[in-house]
Structures are given as structure tokens and as C-alpha cells.
């Protein structure tokens, strides 16, 4: 078991170095590691989807529990493959309509609630906000930011006078938002590099305990 762990660690370390070698320039080692990753990921996902979705949701209910209603969604799913037969290609519209209709129905209500109504509510001033000065200041900044940003995307009137001032404030808020997102992105990429180097130094080279 320990020997196998060591073998797998060596394979992972060598593949990591093969991917890092792209930083110098494109080369066959990088290409090999990249293709291997794509192939393994696709196969892994396929096998997991079969055993975790297809078997418990179709094979077992139909063949073990004899619940034949499950054949209907199974057939509907099969129609996705109709596009490979030009004469029957139109049949794909049935599962697509079910999928889009179902997802739209399920998403619109909760989506509106979470993304719009609750967020609108959060941007409004409530009597309770006036009891704490810091909350009030925070809420006012949020309100100014929202109004300025929304006005910046209002294109039906030329940005002049008061509108120019408001959109000017809006662009500052947008830039701060982009800056924060960029900062977090740098942190994310840095973390990925740190994770790999930690693996190389700890699990492979044993330089860190």
C-alpha cells in the first residue's frame, strides 16, 4: 500500500512538472499531460454518471423494483441522441422543451426572490439602520453605489449635467468592484500554485513535514 502511494505520488509529481514545463515553452511532455488529464477526466465523469445516476434512477427502478414509469423519462433522455439521425433530428426538441420548461419553472420563482427581491430589500434604508451610525453610513454608501452604477448603464439620455456626475460616481464604484474581483483572482491563482508547490515539497520531496 505504501509502495503504491509512493508510485502514485511520483506520477502526480512528474505530471505536475510536465504541466509547469509549459511556462518555459510548449513541449511534448506538456501535451502528453494535458491530453491525459482530459481523457481521464472524461472517462471518470462518464463512469460516475453511469453508476450514480443511470443505475439508481433507471436500471434499478425498472429491473429490480419493476416500476415501469421510469421508462418514460428514460426514453425522453434517449431522444437527445436523435440528432445523430438526420431524419429524426427534430425529436431532440421534446427533451429540450421539457428540460428548458422544467428548469425555467423551477428557477424563476426562487431566482427572483434571491437575486432581485432580497437584494432590493437589502439596498433600502430601514428605520432600524438609523440606530447605529456605522450601519447607516454603510447603507448610504451601498445605496449611492447602486444608483450610480445603474445610472451608468442608462443609455437613453446623454450623460450630461447631474446625470454625468451620478454616472461618474457609478464608474468609480464599478472600478472598485473590478479591482476587488481582480485582487481575489490573483489570490486564487497564487493559491493554486502554492498548493502544487506544497505537494511537491511535502508529499514528493519530503522537505516540509
Amino acid at each position: 500500500m505504501i509502495l503504491m502511494d509512493t508510485v502514485w505520488t511520483w506520477i502526480a509529481a512528474l505530471l505536475t512538472l510536465a504541466i509547469f514545463s509549459f511556462l518555459y515553452k510548449d513541449n511534448p511532455f506538456y501535451k502528453f499531460a494535458e491530453h491525459l488529464f482530459v481523457g481521464v477526466s472524461a472517462a471518470y465523469t462518464l463512469v460516475l454518471a453511469y453508476y450514480n445516476s443511470f443505475v439508481p434512477n433507471l436500471i434499478l427502478p425498472v429491473f429490480r423494483e419493476h416500476n415501469y414509469w421510469f421508462i418514460i423519462p428514460g426514453l425522453l433522455g434517449l431522444l437527445f441522441f436523435a440528432r445523430f439521425i438526420p431524419r429524426l433530428g427534430f425529436l431532440i426538441l421534446f427533451p429540450i422543451s421539457f428540460t428548458i420548461g422544467g428548469y425555467a419553472g423551477l428557477s424563476i420563482g426562487p431566482g427572483l426572490q434571491a437575486r432581485l427581491l432580497k437584494q432590493l430589500q437589502g439596498s433600502m434604508l430601514h428605520p432600524a439602520d438609523f440606530t447605529d451610525p456605522w450601519t447607516l453610513i454603510n447603507k448610504i454608501i451601498v445605496l449611492i453605489g447602486i444608483l450610480g452604477t445603474m445610472l451608468y448603464f442608462y443609455f437613453s439620455k446623454e450623460h450630461k449635467g447631474v446625470l454625468k456626475l451620478a454616472t461618474g460616481i457609478g464608474i468609480w464604484f464599478i472600478m472598485v468592484g473590478f479591482g476587488a474581483a481582480f485582487g481575489y483572482t490573483v489570490m486564487a491563482r497564487a493559491s493554486l500554485l502554492i498548493g502544487r508547490i506544497q505537494f511537491l515539497l511535502t508529499d514528493w520531496l519530503h522537505l516540509i513535514r
Binding site: L106, P110, G111, A114, A181, A188, A190, I197
Partner: protein, 286 residues
Amino acid sequence: MNDWLVRLAKIDRRYIFLIVAVSVILPLLFPLHYPIRVTRHTRAVFDIVDQIPPDSNPILISFEYGPSTMPECHPMAYAILRHAFARRVRVIGITLSADATGLGEKALQDVALEFGREYGKDYVFLGYKPGVSAVMLSIGEDIKTTFPQDFYGQSTSEIPMLADVHNYGQIPLVIPLTGSATATFWLIYAGARYHARVADGVTAVMASELYSYLQTKQLSGLLAGLKGAAEYEHLVRQAGYTQREGRASRGMDALSTMHLVIIAFIVLGNIGFFLSRRAAKEGVQS
């Protein structure tokens, strides 16, 4: 001096890669022990888990990260699991991303072994289920219908820990650990639709767009990237639940040093850009 800065702005990027690599490797080999300051959003997640009574209703951790986001999310999983298992808080593990199946299973097994927790009684792993939002909605109706079997093929209706768990009503906290938009999906389908309490653990790329949901209290807490994981590890260690220093905490020195190097590059790059632009203008005028 000006020539030097202009030349620096045009430096071969491979030298930059090398300097960045050195700025990561050195602090990992020789730790600087920068202090870790805990944000209130991380503390909020910790406090919720800390207040759940032992051996009561389980929390749900959804593992939704793959090898590409593992350095940020995997330490979060270990830190939360150490906290939960140290306090005998039960855990249901699921995954909505195929890549995460092996990672989630390993995290649960490792930490359960560390704290002597028993499968089926203290934790359960229900495995991967495709469908994302459909799965989230389905759990709101009945988790055992959504996952008729656990990852190992055992019927979920026979697992003792799940006997009284039907839907989000019996789950005090849902924690998706993700590097994708599913962080928001949980708010919509579990939070808005079924009033589940959701706290996200996300990669840093995802974090900035989730702050607005913290402000409206749709999110109960947030672990943001490697920093969030390190903060949680720090809290778990500070509370005496474990003495282990997690990988995220060890990575924070490298992260801070690397950030300083990148800031220096941005400043120098901008100075070089403005100087070369001025030199070009002067060249045109003369």
C-alpha cells in the same frame, strides 16, 4: 535609471515566473509566521458549527471542487470536518461535481479516522449526483429519495444517522465547498426556496460576487479562498479542537510574500509603461 525601468517593463516573462516561484518556495521552506486575522464572515461559519448540539441533526457538506481548485477548497473541508467531528457534530457529505467524489470521500475518511468517528452513525457519504439545481431542489423534498443509496451502495433508509433526516428542515447548515456558480445556486434553490441556512466555502475568484449576499444575510457566512481556509484552521486550533497546523495556514506565508512580489511587479510595470510612453512622445516631437 529611466532606461533600466523601460527595459524592466519589457523583461522576458520567464524571469517573472522564476521570481514568483522563488517567492513561493522560500516562505514554505522557511516560514515567516505572518499573523492570521480572522474575518467576521469566517467566524460566523465557525460559530454556527460550534453551536450545533453534539449527536443532533447533521450538517450537509457538498464537495464541488476538483483538482484544479483543490488547494483552496480541500483545506476548508478538512478544517470544517475537524471542527465538526471534534464536537461530535454529524456530517452528510454529497458531491455535485464528479471530480470531487474521490476528494470528498478521502477528506471524510481521513478526519473520521483522526477523531474515531463511525460511518453511518457520525457521518455518511452519499456520493455524486448529476443535475445540480435539480438535486438541490430534490433534497428540499426528501433527501432519501434524491439519494436512494449512499456512495457504497447501502440503502439510505437503512442508515441510522439518516433515520430522522428528511429534508433541509432537519439540516442546521448547508456548506457547499465550490469553485463554481453553484455557490449562488444553493442560495436560490436551498436558501430562497426551502429556507435552508447556507454558508459558502468558495475559491477566491468566486468570493467578490458573494459579498452582496452576505449583506442581505442570504449567506450566513463565507470562507473565501486559501485565506478563508487558513482562518478556519486558525479558529479550530485556537479553540483547542486540534493541534494540527493545516495546509492553508502553512501556505499563507507564501501567499503574502507572493502578493508583495506581484504588487512590486505591477508598480514597476506601470512606471516602465509611463516612462516608455513619454520617451516615445519625446521621440516623435524631436
